[in-house]
């Protein structure tokens, strides 16, 4: 696109006058930040949990300010439970929940929820599948009925399967132009190998094409059971009425034996560097990390604080180095992802193509430093101050409360820990940070993914210590995600820039 004004020719004109800065009013005082007011009491809002005789767990969070109710149902199985070779079944089954039931067509469901001014969301994640229904208070009974209907009796009509299948394939196609998607799926594969956590939720074009109606019905039959489900009712309801409504629509849902859990074996971290060549890119998406720990690990909290120091709120060494000091990026961060059977840590940034090697080197150096050196007491205190101080911000919205309770139930965590979060954060010590960093960070075994125009940076990688590099083109992706590539490095690069 050309534009009406400007042009590169004007670049240097502005640099003549160097030191202009905003004027200061003469009488502006020199002073320190003011002290706080007296602190106010923080209470974790009340909630109630009951379990129906068929095993369905029900959470109610009452909140009467706005005349609205949110109903959230979670099934304890998602993409990680996809059958071998059928990646994408959980996602497609989730997507089809509201596309027709035993009693209503997709269009009838859409018309019903839209008419009452509601909203409906369905789908699947890694460890769970979900249905969310959002309505005004006067449509609560309607919403409870709808929730049960689409959870229990999806029809998986062939025509709807084809529609949604095409949607999935199209969205994969669009995603192949998205560096964040490419980096994410390749990172998952490198880190988790052939464990189910290592594949994209939506599957690949080939796996999606292979899914049959029977696959979807079998997944639904196996996993959608009351003893594998949680329901939360959040908002302007009375608890007894909410429990009674859930009982009314779900009490005759029969408990079933559940299939065995997917494999819990995770691969051992091993250094591997993969470049996804995307000619024409102006930036490189950089992802660095390896497997870490499951959500219910007793070290999870301390490791999370360590990663905040590396790249999160209240700390963020990566941001300081890559953005503040070097202006290499708009954002740099590090995060822990922890699931039922395992998790990972990932540091990420996006930088202009010619700075790729420099940014990668700086990121890896920061991971190494966190493992090598004790963090400063002040640095830890800043991270703790953020994490414990922000607690009241995390319990404002009733949905946020429900999400915390559901997460605890899903991963079998101690519910009593929820209101104790600030104290638990403040109990983490410098020694704890060093211990978990040494135990869970292995800088020599990092998986590295670089998505960008390979020709602009590939020759720089050896100079920063990465000389064993595999290069893929986007069209190699399906093969890369297929079986047999998890541990075997490609004999020769699939394509050389």
């Amino acid at each position: 696109m050309t534009r009406g004004w400007g042009g590169w020719a004007v670049v240097v004109l502005a640099l003549g006058c160097a030191t202009a800065s905003a004027q200061q009013p003469l009488d502006w005082p020199r002073e320190s930040p003011p002290p706080p007011l007296p602190a106010r009491q923080v209470h974790f809002p009340p909630y109630e949990i009951r379990t129906l005789s068929n095993g369905l767990q029900v959470v109610v969070v009452m909140h009467h300010e706005q005349p609205a109710v949110n109903l959230r149902l979670m099934i304890g199985a998602g993409a990680a439970s996809d059958p071998i070779g059928k990646k994408g079944v959980a996602a497609l089954a989730g997507q089809l929940l509201d596309q027709g039931t035993a009693t209503r067509t997709a269009t009838e469901i859409a018309e019903a929820i839209d008419y009452v001014g509601g909203a409906l969301g369905v789908g699947a994640g890694t460890d769970l599948s979900f249905v969310n229904v959002l309505v005004m208070r006067d449509s609560f009974d309607f919403a409870v009925d709808l929730l049960a209907e689409i959870t229990r009796t999806p029809s998986f009509e062939p025509a709807e399967i084809e529609r949604q299948r095409q949607q999935v394939l199209s969205s994969i196609q669009v995603s192949l132009d998205d560096p964040a998607y490419l980096a994410g799926v390749v990172f998952g594969r490198l880190v988790y190998g052939e464990h189910p956590y290592g594949m994209p939720h939506n599957g690949t074009p080939q796996s999606v094409l292979s899914i049959s109606r029977e696959d979807l019905q079998a997944f639904h039959m196996a996993h959608y059971a009351p003893n594998n489900a949680l329901v939360a009712i959040v908002g302007d309801v009375v608890a007894e009425e909410a429990f009674a409504s859930v009982e009314r629509v779900f009490s005759d849902w029969e408990r079933r034996p559940l299939p065995p859990s997917p494999s819990t074996e995770l691969p051992v971290p091993r250094r591997r560097v993969v470049v996804v060549d995307k000619p024409g890119s102006v930036q490189t998406a950089i992802r660095v990390g390896h497997v870490a720990l499951p959500r219910n690990s007793p070290d999870h909290l301390a490791f999370d604080v360590a990663l905040k120091i590396l790249g999160g709120e209240g700390g963020n060494r990566l941001g300081s180095v890559l953005r503040t000091e070097r202006s290499l990026t708009y954002a740099a961060s590090a995060d822990v992802t922890s699931r039922r059977f395992g998790g990972d840590f990932m540091a990420k940034t996006d930088t202009r193509s010619d700075a790729t090697a420099e940014a990668l080197q700086l990121m890896v150096a920061e991971v190494s430093r966190l493992r090598r050196e004790r963090v400063g007491r002040r640095e830890l205190e800043n991270a703790q101050a953020y994490l414990s101080g922000t607690f009241p911000l995390t319990i404002e919205a009733p949905n946020a409360i429900a999400a915390q309770v559901l997460e605890s139930l899903l991963y079998g965590l101690d519910l009593d820990d929820l209101p104790r979060y600030p104290e638990r954060i403040n109990a983490v010590t410098v020694d704890d940070i060093q211990r978990v960093s040494r135990e869970y960070l292995q800088p020599e075994q990092l998986s590295v993914v670089l998505v960008g125009e390979a020709a602009t940076f590939i020759d720089d990688l050896a100079g920063v210590g990465f000389d064993d590099v595999e290069v893929l083109s986007v069209s190699d992706l399906e093969r890369f995600l297929g079986p047999g590539t998890a541990q075997a490095v490609f004999d020769s690069p699939l394509s050389a820039p």
Binding site: G117, L169, V174, S175, T329
Partner: protein, 468 residues
């Protein structure tokens, strides 16, 4: 802790102005409306230096949200300086008389708070949410930079690089990331809505540290600012604190200029086909019409039209283009109703195996249908119920409440609209919807823009639709 600055994109779909409509609608007692949301409780003050202050108590959680809105955005940029309002927003985190560069957010995160800022076409907003006892801290921080921002050349240069990375990341290397930029560039000739808030790389390069001083003196003055506080405080105590820190900010030396060029009316249909070589996986068809500004009586019926066309899977565009005929991977209609007249646009991302011409015909067909026949009573009621839902569900948190109040106070220049628009919306008729459709969805006011991916289109193994 970094400022994760966002630019205008996720505008609340229902936000629109009503002050001009208030006397004109016939109130009906028989509206079959959804549950009525509670009204805001707030007070509004103006300090001697011109700063507008809105206070709204909410004692449900011990936190407070602050929004400081400067009524300056990308539409105030002069030619050759596109992107400057947003670049300037970044510079506001680079230090002032009592605050070191990059310390603003550190001071906030150390008390458990979150801070951020964002720039739209019309306004630049600085936000903080903190535990309520830290209200003095955020007021002190905002007043310090309002009065004494301090930028040197080195800081300016390094932040310019960060903003260029933001542009690359958010727009240039993202599928369809440049759709808005291309559309607005084609749709406008002189009004600054011709460019989006991120601006062009060339103009970002051309900006100088001298521009900073001028922009700051011109627009970052109390009379151009509105401070909204929502949360767990007593209003009298909060007002005293606001005065303590902001009364000493001097009054502006000059009135804030409002001389923004007007866009001349379009006099004939414009049809444009382009090819994007990067990050454009599917053909996109855009049918756009120039519409009115936020506050015009036509704004509400246009929002009803958006809902009928595009809210939910039963909406007309979804049913026709995505579900029934499967012409599109994704299709929607959207109205951008803001300070100055902007666009109503319908978009189709064309499904592999189908043609842009089919999508164009279908989108125009849906707009024509709004002109040729009334929407049904059920559709009208559904749109109102959906509006009520949006209204209720976007007022749950102090952040959302502050956003509503600041929008009403700054963009509508009438804070009563934060509540009053509910009744006005509920009384829109199907005749109103047809009237605005006939006013704006005309052929001479239309832009048909087709943006093609590079040829050969895509990669065959990823296009199973082609193989059927």
């Amino acid at each position: 802790m970094r400022p994760i600055t966002r630019l205008a994109s996720g505008r609340l779909p229902w936000v629109c102005a009503v002050s001009a409509v208030a006397g004109m609608v016939v109130f009906s007692a028989t509206v079959e409306t959804a549950v009525r949301p509670p009204k805001f409780e707030y007070e509004i003050h103006k300090l001697d230096n011109g700063l507008t202050v809105v206070l709204s108590e909410d004692h449900s959680t011990p936190i407070v949200r602050s929004e400081l809105v400067y009524h300056v955005g990308s539409k105030n940029e002069r030619p050759g300086r596109t992107g400057f309002a947003h670049l300037f927003e970044h510079l506001m985190f680079k230090g002032s008389h009592n605050v070191l560069s990059d310390s603003h957010l550190t001071l906030i995160s150390r008390v458990g708070g979150d801070g951020n800022a964002y720039t739209t076409e019309d306004a630049t907003t600085y936000v903080e949410t903190v535990p309520s006892q830290y209200l003095p801290l955020i007021l002190w921080l905002e007043a310090d930079r309002m009065a004494t921002l301090r930028i040197d050349k080195e800081t300016f240069e390094s932040e310019r690089q960060v903003v260029k990375e933001e542009r690359r990341w958010r727009y240039e290397d993202t599928p369809f990331g440049l759709l808005s930029e291309i559309m607005y560039d084609q749709a406008y000739s002189v009004h600054p809505y011709k460019h989006t808030p991120i601006g062009s790389m060339a103009d970002l390069e051309a900006a100088s540290v001298d521009d900073v001083q001028e922009f700051f003196d011109t627009y970052y003055v109390p009379e151009n600012a509105t401070l909204v506080l929502v949360g767990d405080f007593e209003s009298s105590e909060a007002l005293a604190l606001v005065k303590q820190y902001f009364d000493r900010v001097p009054k502006a030396a000059h009135p804030v200029p409002r001389d923004i060029p007007r866009e001349p009316p379009q006099t004939g249909e414009r049809r444009i086909t382009l090819t994007q070589t990067e990050n454009w996986p599917l053909p996109a068809v855009i049918v756009a019409h120039h519409i009115t500004y936020d506050g015009h009586p036509d704004a509400y019926p246009l929002h009803i039209a958006v809902k009928v066309l595009s809210d939910g899977q039963s909406s007309r565009i979804y049913q026709r283009l995505v579900y029934d005929e499967q012409l599109a991977v994704s299709a929607f209609g959207q109205g951008t109703i803001i300070d100055d007249p902007n666009l109503f646009y319908a978009v189709s991302l064309v499904r592999p195996g189908r043609t842009p011409a089919e999508s164009e015909q279908a989108l125009i067909g849906q707009l024509d249908r709004l002109k040729n026949e009334f929407i049904t009573d059920r559709e009208l009621q559904q749109a109102k119920n959906q509006f009520a839902r949006d209204y209720v569900f976007t007022r749950a948190t102090v952040e959302q409440k502050a956003s509503h109040l600041s929008h009403a106070a700054v963009i509508h220049d009438d804070i009563t609209t934060a509540d009053a628009e509910f009744d006005i919306f509920m009384n829109i008729t199907k005749e109103d919807v047809q009237r605005v459709a006939r006013t704006y969805f005309t052929e001479e006011n239309r832009l048909v823009l087709t943006i093609q991916p590079p040829a050969p289109a895509g990669r065959s193994f990823l296009r199973p639709g082609d193989e059927e």
